[in-house]
């Protein structure tokens, strides 16, 4: 027989401890605001009790994200996932070509004795490959230009929402800034995500919904450590 829980204080404590004694409470009696406020404080106090944090296996992150996104698709997909998914899939698609190409370019750049001409040739080869896909009906392109009107990359968006930025030569942000990529739609900019490495040559992304609503793409420099709700200093942009 469970001892009676006398008052709101006891109910809040039992609830915070998940003591199954709490189940014996009459539904509703313990749900008053005061009770819940106390329960919240007790739960917070308990969250600081000492226990060892455990490093999750890398596979767990994939599993958790897959399960979460299966239940509720992302309205704003993470760039990291899109790029990684395409890289793994090795698909010969627009994005797959560019991502694979970027990997080769990185290798060439990292090899000091590679002649500059070889690197240049490789970039042109990738551009040729993308060009053939760009000619598919409905696919749109945008040339990203910086403030000095120099081209700093090209964006492509297919009718099924696959997109890629390639041939990127983005301006280097100040040390206290991070570059963010945005989709330009009527009335607002939709945040795609931060650019982890300003030297990256390509970025894949996916647009869900009405791709025709995407009128352009922009890159902005934002203070590090914040998630901007709208672009601040636009450093490159281009219309589709």
């Amino acid at each position: 027989m469970t001892a009676p829980l006398d008052d709101a204080e006891d109910r809040a404590i039992a609830r915070a401890l998940d003591a199954d004694d709490a189940a014996s409470l009459v539904t509703g009696v313990g749900s008053a605001d005061g009770d819940m406020s106390a329960t919240d404080e007790y739960r917070e106090a308990l969250s600081y009790l000492p226990f060892a944090e455990v490093e999750p296996a890398p596979e767990l992150e994939d599993r958790v994200l897959a399960a979460a996104l299966a239940r509720r698709p992302a309205a704003v997909p993470a760039l990291e996932r899109v790029a990684r998914r395409r890289s793994r899939a090795r698909r010969v698609t627009l994005a797959g070509t560019a991502v694979a190409g970027a990997a080769v370019i990185s290798l060439l750049v990292g090899t000091a004795d590679r002649p500059e001409r070889a690197l240049r040739g490789r970039i042109e080869e990738i551009a040729d490959s993308v060009t053939s896909i760009v000619e598919e009906p409905g696919t749109r392109t945008a040339t990203l230009t910086a403030a000095d009107r120099e081209s700093v990359g090209t964006a492509v968006l297919t009718t099924d929402g696959d997109g890629v930025l390639y041939d990127l030569a983005l301006p280097t942000p100040a040390s206290s800034q991070v570059l963010w990529v945005w989709l330009v739609t009527p009335g607002e900019h939709v945040r795609l995500g931060p650019v982890a490495d300003p030297d990256t040559r390509s970025i894949g992304f996916t647009v869900t919904g009405d791709t025709d609503a995407v009128k352009g793409i922009a890159v902005s420099a934002e203070p590090a450590g914040i998630t901007p709700s709208a672009p601040g200093q636009v450093v490159a942009a281009g219309p589709f």
Binding site: T2, A3, L5, E9, D10, I13, A14, A16, L17, D18, A19, D20, D21, M36, S37, A38, D40, E41, Y42, R43, E44, A45, L46, S47, Y48, L49, P50, F51, A52, E53, V54, E55, P56, A57, L60, E61, R63, V64, L65, A67, A68, L69, R71, R72, P73, A74, A75, V76, P77, A78, L79, E80, R81, R191, G193, P194, I226, T227
Partner: protein, 188 residues
């Protein structure tokens, strides 16, 4: 930016369906969530299931978290604890717990020193100090109820004490922890 403002910002991004927010929450809190789940269940597979449940829930129902009611960490750990206790209380999990307790104990997970886990966090330090200052007669029943998922009656049985006595000691101890929490949160 205050901790509450940060939690509110991340909650807004979760509500907007921003996948990178989910990744951030996972990267920051997965170690604590898995650690608590493992501490309660003593079973790695079950603890990983609990961890998955927690992050799927926060992604699927982001509106359930109200920053005004406390830190995101406390919310996630309360959910973790609740789910872990549910699992422990199921007969199947209880059996597996017994079978694997020895194995889990000998294959120590990569972990941080619990003494270090909350260093640098004023609230955590204050609560831990308050816990350490509790007499064993109050501290032990709280830890048994929380980490082992035991009811008051089970704690009383384990300690061979009257249930009313255990309940009273838990109440006094918990009030001291809450007081430590409030003292830090209201101080400048």
């Amino acid at each position: 930016m205050t901790a509450q403002a940060r939690d509110r910002a991340i909650a807004d991004r979760l509500a907007a369906g921003d996948e990178s927010a989910l990744r951030e929450v996972y990267h920051v809190y997965a170690g604590a969530v898995l650690g608590l789940a493992l501490r309660v269940t003593t079973n790695r597979a079950i603890a990983e299931d609990v961890t998955q449940d927690v992050f799927v829930r926060v992604w699927e129902q982001p509106e359930q978290y109200d920053p005004a009611r406390g830190p995101l960490r406390a919310y996630l750990l309360a959910m973790t604890h609740s789910r872990a206790v549910e699992r422990v209380r199921s007969e199947d999990a209880r059996r597996r717990r017994q079978e694997t307790a020895q194995r889990e104990a000998t294959s120590a997970p990569v972990s941080v020193d619990p003494q270090q886990a909350v260093i640098g966090h004023d609230v955590g330090v204050a609560v831990r100090d308050a816990l350490a200052a509790l007499p064993d007669s109050q501290r032990i029943p709280i830890e048994m109820a929380y980490f082992d998922g035991l009811s008051y009656r089970q704690v009383a049985s384990e300690l061979d004490e009257p249930e009313g006595t255990v309940k009273y000691r838990i109440r006094i101890g918990m009030q001291k922890l809450r007081a430590a929490l409030r003292a830090v949160e209201v101080s400048p």
